[in-house]
């Protein structure tokens, strides 16, 4: 399956780093980018995004607020929150919103594990 993956981070460098890892793993998947929560919601409303990878610490609204909004539009979309801020409150809120917490800086191995599980989840939900 070929998927559309949305990358949300206010840092262009962080988006480029995630894009590099993603294209090394799945060069044929489509990558979309947004630099904040509002931009991400606009992309999701006009495009059929399959998977979202998003940062926690962003200006205006943090990544968990974005996950909550994404869940209203796409209750089962695989979502990962990527952050170096692994405080219990943030990790447990990420999980309670049905998303996965991935440590930053993101490694290709960790991303690969998340995407394998996302692929499995998407295949089951669409079968």
């Amino acid at each position: 399956m070929v998927y559309k993956v949305l990358i949300v981070d206010d840092s262009k460098l962080a988006r480029m780093a995630i894009a590099k890892a993603l294209s090394a793993l799945y060069p044929d998947w489509t990558r979309l980018e947004a630099s904040d929560a509002d931009g991400a919601l606009e992309v999701v409303k006009r495009t059929a995004v399959d998977i979202t990878l998003l940062d926690f610490n962003m200006p205006h609204r943090d990544g968990l607020s974005l996950v909550a909004d994404l869940r209203k539009l796409h209750p089962t979309m695989p979502v990962a929150v990527i952050s170096a801020n692994h405080q219990d409150e943030i990790v447990s809120r990420t999980q309670s919103l049905g998303a996965v917490f991935l440590p930053k800086p993101l490694t290709e191995k960790v991303l690969a594990e998340f995407l394998t599980s996302a692929d499995r989840q998407l295949k089951v939900s669409r079968s």
């Binding site: 840092s11 460098l13 480029m16 780093a17 590099k20 801020n85 409150e89 800086p105």
Partner: protein, 220 residues
Amino acid sequence: MIPPVPQILDELELDAFGELVNIGVSKSAASLREMIGEQVHLSVPTLSLVSRHQAIEMLNQEGHGNLIAVHQVFEGDITGRAILIFPEAKSLELVRAVAGGGLSLEDIVELEHEALAETGNIILNGCLSTIANLLQRSFKMSLPEILRGSGSDLFEMESSPEAGEHVLFLYINFAVRQRDILGYIVMLMDLPSIAALKVLLVEFIERTTGVKAPRPDEIP
């Protein structure tokens, strides 16, 4: 005349430095959370090139009067200062959070210096070590030093004559809302260090994104 930041560091290099600090401070915040048992909230870092005078003004504008700070100098390929700053009125609350409940005011006052130095060590050392690792360099860190006074007292520290009047000023605020603790992390680097930082950031961007940028000494 102040060279605009983009002439010293381009947009992606500034972004990369902000992201490095963000990762460093986020990891430190998680360590502090372990110590005090409450969530530590962080702002997004802001980065600017300002005069020393403007840096003092920016701190004074926060309007917290007397400040208490933990200060550490880092040296290596780049040299600078990292400072953890609290309004003085909030520092005892931080000590109470770090040292645990059940202490008398007398004990808390006695422990203040040690608890602040330890907190500073965790946040500043943790943050700087993460940055050094990501840049694949090592920094030599001084022992934490406690400073008290106004914004201008904190910044009126000796700097070398070649350091210049302008500094790269990086500012993040943090709060422990359940305990009414708030503070700021400030990182200062003199202009000669920024040129060295640029070289390290070019290498870091290339490693992280796979995109090769010309090194500063290769630019015609």
